[in-house]
């Protein structure tokens, strides 16, 4: 016995009912986006791994379906944004901005599967290149809410954040890029859960341990300020330790690195300060307008630029007028998303299903540096969002899906010789808009009629030699048992008319 080959874990077969529902949702969303000027594009599923590594800013991104084929590092896309950026660079650089794109298709992430979390799922989203920050942010936010409303998903929660607040704080601490990236990546964990916060604390303690660098030291120097005395001192120390160095360059590099490390140890105080700030920021999340007051106070207390906050206030003002009430909005300036390319607005849309299980339906934001990161010559304003289609389905009221379309008539050839004529009848029926099946079981008229009854098909079209000669069909009404002899040009209309009158 051959071994049964199982479906991969976290991957799903989409069967007709849910397939049709999903396609209906995709078509509706796509139509809405198209009416807003977003042109559909379809990049390949497979890209060079480098594309996603550049967009995420790191080589060892976990959860990628990445592999090597013929010495090329390839990757099944984990999301569309980087692909659409590449597509823009390949085809649209000379066109004037703004440009609007929409996309829909499968994405792949090697994560532990769970409720609402699949290894292959369908994303539908938009990217807008160019445009002014507030206007385009407002447009995509409004569009995301409008799209959900159109699907009759109304009780969702829009979580808004802005990377600018935290990155402004980090810049002022004069932390280097490496530390800044770390803090931004930990921000997501802090905003997700208490365990995440503990994890973040632990990470920082490991990387910036309390040690001989005086935590209260007020004077810290940057590497440029390191005196040449220090370098000479270290160089002679290394010589005396008889550590072998291939060349003076190597020795110099190690000395430079050693000083770099010492200098970084002195960053501990500032790093922990940043962690405190992230916590404070996270603690203030809430709904406008009250939360703006508290956030303004906090920014003032830390003497931070309030520009990101003003941007958010303007945004909230715009979308409140068009798409969403302010009770549905939660401001969380510590909101971090899984990827590191965001530069300004970040947002997520969450909703709970009937059982109270909360899922994230949509996520997006602004990434003004991404196009350059994936190979563009300059930074271009860009923003976008994506829906997880599978997560939308259970939230859409069941009665809003179109009812499944049943086969209206079964065409029963009397015998195999009547098959060509049966196929001709079927074609004419379809041209008239009927949904028909041909009975291919070659089991005669009686069995064919039984089959039609079993499949709850209302009409049977019996075709044999007589019918073919007279260019007609025998129409059998399976509900009433009535039989009619109709011309091939009129039977379809008869069925349509009768069904309409019921």
């Amino acid at each position: 016995m051959k071994k049964h080959i199982e479906r991969l874990r976290g991957m799903h077969d989409r069967l007709p009912e849910s397939y049709k529902q999903q396609r209906w949702v995709t078509d509706r969303l796509s139509a809405i986006l198209e009416r807003a000027g977003y042109n559909p594009v379809d990049p390949p599923i497979l890209e060079r791994s480098e594309l996603f590594q550049s967009s995420f800013g790191q080589e060892l991104w976990q959860n990628l379906y990445a592999f090597r084929l013929h010495q090329r590092e390839l990757c099944m896309r984990p999301e569309f944004t980087a692909s659409i950026c590449r597509l823009y660079l390949d085809h649209y650089q000379k066109q004037s901005l703004p440009l609007r794109f929409q996309y829909a298709g499968p994405v792949f992430r090697y994560e532990t599967p769970g409720r609402g979390r699949y290894r292959q799922h369908t994303q539908l989203g938009v990217e807008m290149f160019g445009g002014h920050i507030i206007s385009s942010d407002a447009e995509i936010l409004q569009l995301a809410c409008e799209a959900l409303n159109a699907l009759q998903i109304t009780s969702f929660r829009l979580e808004l954040g802005h990377i600018g607040v935290v990155s402004g704080f980090i810049n002022r601490l004069q932390l280097d890029d490496h530390a800044a990236r770390l803090l931004l990546s930990l921000m997501e964990q802090i905003s997700r859960s208490d365990e995440g916060e503990q994890f973040a604390q632990q990470r920082l303690e490991t990387l910036y341990p309390e040690n001989w660098a005086d935590a209260n030291s007020k004077s810290y120097r940057t590497l440029n300020e390191t005196s040449s005395d220090d370098i000479h001192l270290l160089a002679s120390l290394l010589s005396s330790m008889s550590v072998a160095y291939g060349s003076d360059d190597t020795r110099h590099e190690v000395i430079e690195r050693f000083l770099w490390k010492m200098e970084r140890n002195e960053q501990r105080r500032r790093i922990l300060h940043a962690l405190e700030f992230l916590r404070a920021l996270h603690a203030i999340s809430g709904s406008p307008p009250e939360v703006f007051e508290a956030l303004r106070d906090l920014l003032q207390r830390y003497d931070l630029n309030s520009k990101p906050l003003i941007e958010l206030e303007q945004l909230v003002d715009v979308i409140e007028q068009s798409a969403i009430s302010n009770q549905q909005i939660v401001l969380n300036l510590a909101l971090g998303r899984g990827v590191s390319y965001y530069t300004g607005l970040v947002f997520e849309i969450h909703a709970s299903d009937d059982s109270g299980f909360e899922t994230q339906l949509c996520g997006g934001g602004r990434y003004d540096n991404l196009l350059r990161a994936v190979g563009g010559a300059r930074d271009i304003n860009a923003c976008g969002f994506a829906f997880g289609i599978e997560r939308l389905l259970p939230l859409i009221p069941k009665d809003s899906f179109p009812s499944p379309e049943k086969t209206q008539a079964l065409i029963i050839p009397v015998n195999i010789l009547s098959m060509p004529y049966a196929l001709k009848v079927a074609q004419m029926a379809r041209e008239s808009g009927l949904r028909v099946e041909v009975d291919v079981l070659e089991h005669g008229v009686g069995a064919g009629l039984t089959l039609a009854t079993k499949k709850e098909i209302s009409w049977a079209l019996i075709v044999g030699e007589d019918e073919r000669k007279m260019n007609s069909v025998t129409l059998h009404d399976l509900v009433s048992g009535k039989e009619l002899f109709l011309d091939i040009r009129s039977f379809a209309q008869y069925i349509l008319d009768t069904e309409l009158s019921i």
């Binding site: 071994k3 874990r9 080589e59 280097d176 490496h178 190690v254 690195r257 970084r264």
Partner: protein
Amino acid sequence: MNPSPVIRLALPGKGTLEASTLAFLSECGLKVNRNNPRQYLASVSSMPDLEVVFQRAADIPLLVQDGDATFGITGYDILAEFRGTADTEDNEEGDNEDILILDQDLGYGNCRLVVAVPENWIDISTCADLWHLTGYYLDHKKRGLRVATKYPALTGQFLRKHGITHCKIISPHGALEAAPLTETADLIVDLTETGTTLRENHLKLLEDGIVLRSQACLIGNTRLLRENQPALNMASIMLELIEARKQARNRSILTAHLETDTLEEMQRNCSFLTQRLNHLVSGLEYQVSHTEKEDIIKLCRYTISGVTNVGNSASDFLEIVSVLRSSGAKQINITPLTYRFEKEPSSVRALIKRLKRKQ
């Protein structure tokens, strides 16, 4: 009915694990008969229905996963790389549930997979230092670290765990130790037993740079074990023998025949010996049996016997011997223990439980 499929055990046929595996199995009473060392097939006389195939250790996980071999012995490092994770518990992902680890530590083939950096990197001694170094590289060299390893999956997992994501993993075919010297990589992740080779190549280990500790391990194909009762029976026998052998390893059985003049003296002697011996060696379980034959009034003969977990080193024994002598021992026998069966074979029970759970 199909004829019942051949039950195969795949053993490492090349490299360091070959000889030690054969020696280990022989100790377990599962001696492999191979007519000449170039043959790929062999048999085990105590298990006539088992066919032994010799393969490269690195190929054995795939053979077992595909069911071409029901059982296999390979290095845990090789298996972990094959599964793509260093986590010891059952792979929750369930993606590799075709392979079941029957015994993770057979007690030989010890080695460690470690992160090693040039010894002149005075700024680097921990993984946290390495994380800082990636920042330096991005800042000054505009690139990430390059790590050379033959274990890319385990290395990637380890580095990610330490947040070191700005690096490129390369897998050269040749000797890894040379990579930092020839500047094809900045550091390496490699197997080491003692660290000597690394030191000779001017490399040093990181304090917290152990990616994996590895020994030889016994694996089996989950599906075949579940569907094929004879295979499961064989697994039980092998596990039972291996467990009994592992329990007996480094244990010796010691018997001392003593004589005293009076019963009181014997009792005194015994309590003295209890104290001294417990002090001397841990894990000595012994009992006193009294031979009450002949002249009870005049002479007391008794025997002290027990199992000790002292190694095979003579100096350990000699101290015990002198204590026993001082208490009047006439003859002391020490024999290495061959098997030690517990009340219940716990590894067999665990296997059956896991087979059920995975269903």
